[in-house]
């Protein structure tokens, strides 16, 4: 029984920003157990590609399919299987790290506080669980955002520059998390300049 094609297929995406032709016919296929790294100089539409891939931005031409079906039709399923970490960590400054996680992860799946604390532990920010996020440093906020992605347990990760504001230990942490995710049949689309030391299953997409 040929199971439906798993994973994400993006075909010939064209996006204009006003007069600028930002994405010119970009295509990619992401299968379970693979990491796709998107690189390229600034302004070549890396973030735009990520926003198109996760369905946040509708391209003028081209299509995005999840498990063989266009995402417009399967939006709830697609978004349930997706964890997106944007360039800016999407956290509320007035809420504590734990509250931030509880509300955003809680929308996706019923989650207990213990799991959230474990995720924060795993990304090394357990002590700041009860602190309002506005007092945390940029690196700590990046780690809280990573904890959110971890706690969502989504098969498809989309990370926009996950290495920014992170020290060497932080970068190593991100690489480990990606390796664990990919080896557990997860998928990841990562925009990053930092070369990800990942042995197998790493493919690159260079945008001009």
């Amino acid at each position: 029984m040929d199971s439906a094609p798993q994973g994400l297929t993006i075909e010939k995406i064209h996006v204009w920003r006003g007069d600028r032709h930002v994405l010119r016919g970009v295509s990619l296929i992401l299968q379970p157990g693979e990491l796709m790294q998107v690189t390229g100089p600034n302004g070549t539409g890396k973030t735009t590609l990520l926003r198109v891939a996760c369905g946040l931005l509708r391209p003028e031409q081209g299509s995005v399919a999840w498990c063989g079906r266009p995402i417009a039709g399967v939006r709830p399923q697609f978004h349930s299987a997706l964890a997106y970490a944007a360039h800016e960590p999407a956290l509320k400054g007035d809420l504590t790290a734990l509250e931030n996680l509880r509300y955003l992860v809680g929308l996706k799946r019923p989650v207990r506080t213990a799991e959230l604390e474990a995720a924060l532990e795993r990304t090394g920010v357990a002590p700041c669980a009860q602190l309002p996020v506005r007092v945390l440093s940029a690196g700590q906020r990046r780690r809280v955002a990573l904890a959110r992605v971890l706690a969502m347990r989504s098969p498809l990760w989309m990370l926009d520059e996950p290495f920014t504001n992170l020290d060497s230990a932080g970068s190593a942490l991100v690489t480990d998390l990606l390796r664990e995710h990919v080896s557990a049949a997860g998928m990841a689309l990562v925009v990053a300049h930092h070369d990800i030391a990942l042995s197998a299953r790493l493919r690159r997409l260079e945008l001009q």
């Binding site: 204009w16 920003r17 006003g18 007069d19 032709h21």
Partner: protein
């Protein structure tokens, strides 16, 4: 069945059709308006109540009619654009907005000029004129929302949605203003009702209505060419369209 519709709505064919239709609509419009004026000013007998002041109806009623007609056209074009993702219907909506707003302003001014001889003041919060004023505000809302977005496609969609919401509210506004007016002033004031019109008064009015509608069609075609060019600057067919 849909292919001809998409071909028709393709930018180059919209551009060509608009260019071709403009002179036809304009001539019909000018002829109709000329006949309407001659009939309205020359042949129609003066009204037994308002005397010759009633002749303002030949300008006020058509412009009031066009103000609502254009808003509805804008809302329908916006809805078509949102539902079927047809870029050209956004262009039509964008082209219609200023025309409708100008007719609304004309209807307001002619209405208050007409009100002076009847009520002694230029503005007596007559329910129809008040609804017309709020319609002008609705136009202002749509026309200031569209250019506020850097991305023109997003501006089109936002303006389309607002014009639909506004369109749903037009009857509500009209009813609530009528209710509010009857609350305070009662209906003693002689409204700008269409006095029961004998034929010689009526045909000029119908001709003027036809003239104004064709005039709208002509001007919207003219503006549409500009809107299409603005939206299709990158495509190849624009090259020889603007070469001459």
């Amino acid at each position: 069945m849909w292919t001809w519709f998409y071909k028709l709505a393709s930018p180059p064919s919209v551009y060509r059709t608009a260019t071709a239709l403009t002179p036809w609509f304009m001539t019909v419009a000018l002829i109709a308006i000329a006949c309407g004026l001659i009939g309205g000013l020359g042949f129609a007998p003066p009204d037994y109540q308002q005397g010759d002041a009633f002749r303002i109806i030949y300008v006020h009623v058509p412009s009031a009619y066009m103000s609502l007609f254009c808003y509805s056209a804008m809302a329908v074009a916006g809805a078509i654009g949102l539902i079927w993702r047809i870029k050209m219907s956004y262009a039509l909506a964008a082209a219609t907005a200023p025309i409708g707003a100008s007719f609304t302003a004309l209807a307001l001014v002619t209405g208050s000029l007409w009100g002076k001889p009847m009520w002694g003041t230029y503005w007596a919060w007559d329910p129809r004129l008040t609804s017309e004023l709020i319609l002008l505000f609705l136009y202002a809302g749509v026309m200031s929302l569209r250019p506020a977005f850097e991305d023109p496609a997003r501006g089109d969609r936002a303006a389309a949605l607002l014009s639909i919401v506004g369109f749903v509210n037009v009857p509500i506004i009209h009813f609530s203003v009528q209710w509010w007016n009857s609350l305070h002033q009662g209906s003693t004031i002689a409204k700008i009702g269409k006095p029961s019109m004998p034929g010689s008064m009526l045909w000029p009015l119908l001709t003027m209505l036809l003239g104004f509608t064709c005039f709208y069609a002509a001007v919207v075609c003219m503006r549409l060419r500009g809107e299409v060019l603005n939206r299709e600057r990158q495509s190849a067919w624009v090259r020889e369209a603007v070469k001459s």
